[in-house]
Amino acid sequence: MLFKFSAPSQAREDEVTPRDLFLTRRSLMAGGAAAMALGSLPVWSGNALAASFQVPTTIKPADPKFDPTTPMKSATTYNNFYEFGTGKDDPADNAGTLKTRPWEIAIGGEVAKPMTIGIEDLLKFPMEERIYRLRCVEGWSMVIPWVGFSLAELLKRVEPTGNAKYVAFQTLNDPKQMPGLRSWVLDWPYTEGLRLDEAMHPLTMLAVGMYGEVLPNQNGAPIRLVVPWKYGFKSIKSIVRITLVKDQPPTAWNKSQPREYGFYSNVNPEVDHPRWSQATERRVGEFSRRKTLPFNGYGEEVASLYAGMDLKANY
């Protein structure tokens, strides 16, 4: 792209390095302690940030020949993470400024036990690997092995009250770490939402890793949502806040262009995006297009959530 605005904060990086180092070291120790307490989860190698996970694979495509795993290089260099720029390679180029330690998620709203939980404690949840298809609203798709745990496990801890009908999520909103926040492409911070039953569904997960490694910054480190039957933008990255609410929460893309990006945004080949067809998709790395499947191929598991709903009206 011709127009690439580099972050002025990059010039200041030298100044903050000591603090960075300090924090990294601190998280190293915390992470190391957690790893020891849990045996093999996660396994930290000599370098603090080159941690890897050895976890059981619990979900994978029925036919791995039909859905081969996307090369890691593609999944980590072709990203939509507008907080770091709108180009596909911008997040990989710019997300180095994101500081993932210390990191906390504040969970509140309609819950009995609101809490703020640090990334060290989030890493203590029993991890598993799940290989999911990811379908972007733009018409491309990937197959990614995520490492993480069911969102339901976290939500159960805060005990949602009877008033909780929806779950609202929010991404970090720090222009110093995220140069893309200076553009007006979206109403920052990035927000997303799910209905409570969608959030509690066993397929819905929080990911802290991919390809057996710690989640790269450009993929939403240190913790992100993955909802495999919805378009990718629903799977919000770098989460700092989760709020259980009574009414359907506002979501970033829906606020920006309500006709194009609905609250539900379930993958649906029958409902076109106003500007392009959603009937087909190109699997990244392949030449010809494939047919897009309803609910991205997870209809058996999730179609019942929408029984009796008009999916054309609730796109």
Binding site: M1, L2, F3, F5, P71, K73, S74, A75, T77, Y78, Y82, T86, K88, D89, E138, W140, S183, W184, V185, L186, W253, S256, Q257, D272, R275, W276, S277, T280, R282, V284, G285, F287, S288, R289
Partner: protein, 257 residues
Amino acid sequence: MADPASAAGGVDLRAAANAALASRWAKPAVFILCLVPLVWTVRLAYTGELGAEPVLESVKVSGLWALRFLLIALALTPLRMLTGVAGLARFRRMLGLFAFFYATVHLSTYVGLDRFFDWAAIWKDIVKRPYITVGMGAFLILTALAATSTDGMVKRLGGRRWRALHKGVFVAGLAACLHFVMLVKGWQTAPLVYALICIGLLAFRRWPIRLGRRKEPRFGTGPVRTSSVRTRPAASPRSGEAPEPRFPDGSSPARRS
């Protein structure tokens, strides 16, 4: 006073630029330069460096260069008027044709690589997706302009009709910018910047500015302003400017290759 030619002891930049542009190597050099984006992109595709989605990337890159060449071609006249480098005019046709060339590559990659000649899907796209409708419109205009770009067509159509037809380049430019603005998600910076440049170049034809001269009235009945959009400035007898060109695109017949 700001006339470079009269600057005491200074190099006559305008004359130097004119001499360079009039050289017989200038056109071949610009021609080769215009092919660099194509060669570079093909090279990246060949070495697998076009990213995770090489098909979409080649559609994007060719479209971007079509728009860039169109804007460069549109910028030559304002640039000539601002700098007095008359030699720029004879590159307008070549750059315009390169815009058409890259637009053709853009359309071909979309039809052949992205849609794999699925004509039914392509037709549905054209009639149903406004950004593709607008893009196709821009391409059809550029096709008409490219087809009438030869000296023979200028003669056959006659200067006035040819000029009227080739004002369509502004419609094509605006349509191409609109196509870009409409196809991205949200209000992104780059397409808006291209659109602003295009509007600026169009506005310049209406309200031209010249450097190195006494201020001319921007509004009112000054000599600069005429009632219609101007495709080229009135001939000026200043030294360093080419003689009144015969063809309406501003080039002189002797310099045409």
